[in-house]
Amino acid sequence: MALLEVKDLKVRVEEREILHGLTLTVNEGEVHAIMGPNGSGKSTLSHVIAGKPGYEVTDGQILFKGEDLLEMDPEERAAKGVFLAFQYPVEIPGVATMNFLRTALNAQRKARGESEYSTPDFLKKVREVSKSLNIPQDMLKRGVNVGFSGGEKKRNEVLQMALFEPSLCILDEMDSGLDIDALRIAADGVNALRSPKRAMVVITHYQRLLNYIVPDFVHVMSKGRVVKSGDKQLALELEESGYTQFEDAA
């Protein structure tokens, strides 16, 4: 069984159709890159998989481990193992990062019928992961993402990915707003999480990110559909030729 099956998905936002029948299959252990110009529907796909309100699915389905994902609340999806790394992680003043991480992790474990993490185990794990991601301890005491730089916000997303151990990670434009050093640290964090049991969907505008997170498959989206699929060579070709060739194909 595929980990994620998106079948002929049609999605509207405020009466306008954004996805016009998108199909995508992701198996365990695979890394898929989704590339495409602005407005092609990449972020919409990531939001619909994570369950963001405001999108109307008019046709098609999304199966995750064989279950109908569209029937689930966002929190259920998270507990089942879906993780969206946000393009723009929000700032939450007054909610300390450490408190947020523990509350979220325990909520997911509770939903799965697992016992809550003990505080020492939790702290040990957070310290380990945050160290490897170059996240200072005092950042964890601050409000979630409050006053964080772009790079720190993305590293905080990777930290959560490492803590929650999802089986599907969707990285929405992880490279946006990052300089090359920040990108390398974040990408190293992601690569460390690659495993035969975990799949990743890397959404990006530029080929650059894929130098760091090397995909098994590359899909090109245009006007709400996947118009071409291939291996990592496809990304390099796109870098040469651009997206215009697909505008007509769509």
Binding site: P74, E75, I92, G94, V95, A107
Partner: protein, 435 residues
Amino acid sequence: MNVALAKTGTGRAVSDLFTSAEGRLPGSPAVIAVRRQAFETYERLGLPHRRLEEWKYTDLRALVGEVLPLAATPDAAALSRAAEAVKAHGFAGARKLVLVDGMFAADLSDVKALASEVSVKTLRETLEKESGDLLATASTDAMISLNAAMATDGVVVSIADGAQLSAPIQIIHIATAASASAFTRSQLRIGNGVRATIIESFVAAGAAAYQVNDAVLVTIGDNADVAHIRLMDDAPDAVNITSEIITVGANTKLNFFNMTTGGAVSRLQGFITLAGEGSELAVNGVNLLKKTEHGDSTLVVDHAVPHCTSREIFRAVIDDRAHSVFQGRIIVRPDAQKTDGKMMTRALLLSDEAEADNKPELEIFADDVSCGHGATAGALDDSLLFYLRARGLPEKDAQALLIQAFVGEAIEQIADDDLREHVIGIAERWLERRS
């Protein structure tokens, strides 16, 4: 007495109430004369209504309808219920002074455990043995006048100069009598150089639909450091109108905080006068309201002298069809140069039918001051909610986390860790009752 004055039905009911209660009110004939005068002031004004600017958003004629008869003196069963409430609502380590249905309950109070610098008398004995001075205030407010007329008891606390109190003093008002009124009036005289924490709690012990009218007269000397924390955690159908009249001396720090988590109709009206130079005042408040509750925080900060600072942070969380009122007024008198006064009030509306009235007012008569205010009202941020849910938090938990963060900005102004946790605990219980 001239009874030909035009009165509402409600005004008539109070008039009857006063006549029937007169025999139970403590004080010499001279004190009763003071009460009668206060009552006449009240009778002239009647229950406050929306055509009075100060009461515009809290129309007691419409909201309360009638003033209930005086609660009976609590019997053994009532005191035993109150004892349970003291256990449930007492702050660990505090010296408790307990008022049950408007009467001081000596057996439930820790008078003997008080520090030697603290003296406590009851209002009752003060009125009977001394004078009616405590019933007099300069206020022309109808509810404060009614309180002077009707007050059955209260505590008169004096803290001697220089006292450094390690244990907070907690005044706990407990209602055990349903469909009855308690009128209490207290005085806190806090000397020079005192360091103290005062907590006032309003709770119910099985009572429903009761009414509270409380007034507290506070004077704080120079060079003092005082935390004054109020917790209005009444039964959902109670009415609580409470007035704090506070005068602050020079070079004193006062951290005043109120949180309202219950009551069908509640109002804290605080009148704080900065009467000595160099003092720092923090006034913070939280309203947590649901169903059809109406909660009003009306706070007047009067900068009477130069070189004082005041900071106000107020947060309201309003669910269902509840209604929160914040009226914050900063007065800067002509001589009060170099005043630095700021206030910020924010309301969080959790339902389409929730209502918030924010009325910040600055009355500035000096020309070399720094004053400002801000007010916002809005719903929970959907993008924050989605982020938390995408991380696995159920919707109610995500809301609760954001609500806690929202009110946290006011609660975190409480310096003492244990007391802050105690207050957070009450807010958390409110959130649990909500879901």
